[in-house]
């Protein structure tokens, strides 16, 4: 991955090969970023738009990328910000936090495949019930298996705070599933 990142960066930094670089960047990270965004936003169309915007911003602002951080960390940061902006837009239309949580759980129901297991649906609903920071930390750690140090760079939080947040998030989710699982 390291060598590939170096190739992508080299292509992106050269104006003649920039378009090729964007393609390589998308090939390498589109799937991971898409699912990261999708778990935050849930809505499929909105997630697609947000991923597109993430790549366009990455292309437009590549001169701001510093080699001292990992390429995926930088991309995750852009994607997370874009996704949170979309969620905030959606939440502005809702009067209370409960309305917003209810809306997200409806979205989960509407967007879930028919073959999905009940426990997996419950897990997604439990994630949507978490506060924003806990939700982000939990998803990046649980699904993407990102090291705390990298998550720290993405969400601007200390490693200690992240560990605490993850611990509380996990506890809440387990409680939620225990309460709502009907088998």
């Amino acid at each position: 991955m390291k060598i590939k990142d170096a190739e992508i960066i080299s292509l992106m930094q050269n104006p003649r090969t920039q378009e090729k670089g964007v393609r390589a960047l998308m090939d390498a990270y589109q799937s991971r970023l898409y699912w990261h965004i999708r778990r935050i936003i849930v809505d499929g169309d909105l997630a697609q738009d947000t991923l597109q915007e993430t790549f366009i911003k990455a292309y437009q602002n590549f001169h701001q990328f510093k080699n001292d951080s990992q390429l995926y960390t930088w991309l995750y940061r852009i994607a997370t910000n874009e996704a949170l902006q979309q969620v905030n837009k959606m939440n502005k239309m809702k009067k209370t936090d409960e309305d917003a949580e209810y809306h997200m759980q409806n979205l989960v129901a509407d967007n879930t495949e028919g073959s999905a297991e009940e426990i997996q649906i419950l897990l997604q609903n439990a994630i949507q019930s978490l506060p924003e920071k806990q939700k982000l930390v939990f998803m990046m750690r649980y699904y993407d298996d990102l090291p705390y140090e990298e998550i720290s760079k993405i969400v601007d939080m200390s490693v200690g705070t992240l560990k605490t947040n993850y611990h509380y998030a996990k506890q809440k989710i387990e409680e939620f599933i225990k309460e709502n699982y009907e088998r």
Binding site: E19, Q30, Y34, L123, K178
Partner: protein, 178 residues
């Protein structure tokens, strides 16, 4: 459910994904990039924008003011040009001049119909050239009436005569053409 460990659960993506999702995303992104390359967007510094606005305001003010000045100058010079040009005077002006000449020479006892007629001829001179219309004959005032008129006018002071002249311009003008 009494015991549940989330770490033992399989990590799955359970959301529906449309066909050709990533191909569409790549195509849209590349189209957007190509469009933005063709039409580059320049970020305008607000200071430059403010400076340009001020320059535009001053420029417009200067242009509008210079237009007004030149219009006024043009008007003045046109008027002066017309005054100096020696263009034929209007009928009213000629009639007034004729009357004035008559009134100032009212105390001249030698004034006769012939003299007045010459004045009328003078009044008509330019008019004749301009219109080429045949001048109407002026009826000669009988000598007696002329003398009476002169006596009557003698009784007026100069200022009264001037006032009378300014008020009677139109009447005289009409008389001349009767």
């Amino acid at each position: 459910m009494k015991e549940f460990d989330i770490e033992k659960l399989e990590r799955k993506n359970i959301y529906k994904v449309p066909d050709h999702l990533f191909a569409n995303i790549q195509e849209n992104v590349m189209n957007d990039i190509k469009t933005s390359k063709k039409a580059p967007v320049f970020k305008l510094n607000w200071m430059y924008a403010a400076a340009a606005s001020v320059a535009l305001i001053f420029g417009m003010t200067y242009v509008l003011n210079s237009d007004n000045d030149s219009a006024e100058k043009g008007l003045t010079s046109d008027t002066a040009y017309a005054a100096n040009k020696g263009e034929p005077k209007t009928e009213g002006e000629l009639a007034y001049e004729t009357l004035k000449a008559d009134l100032t020479s009212a105390d001249n006892n030698n004034q006769t119909v012939v003299n007045q007629g010459s004045n009328v001829d003078y009044a008509f001179k330019n008019e004749k050239e301009k219109t080429e219309a045949s001048p109407k004959s002026v009826k000669a005032t009988p000598k007696k009436d002329e003398a009476k008129m002169n006596d009557y006018l003698d009784s007026f002071s100069n200022s009264e005569i001037a006032e009378l002249a300014s008020n009677s311009t139109q009447d005289v003008y009409l008389d001349l053409y009767n």
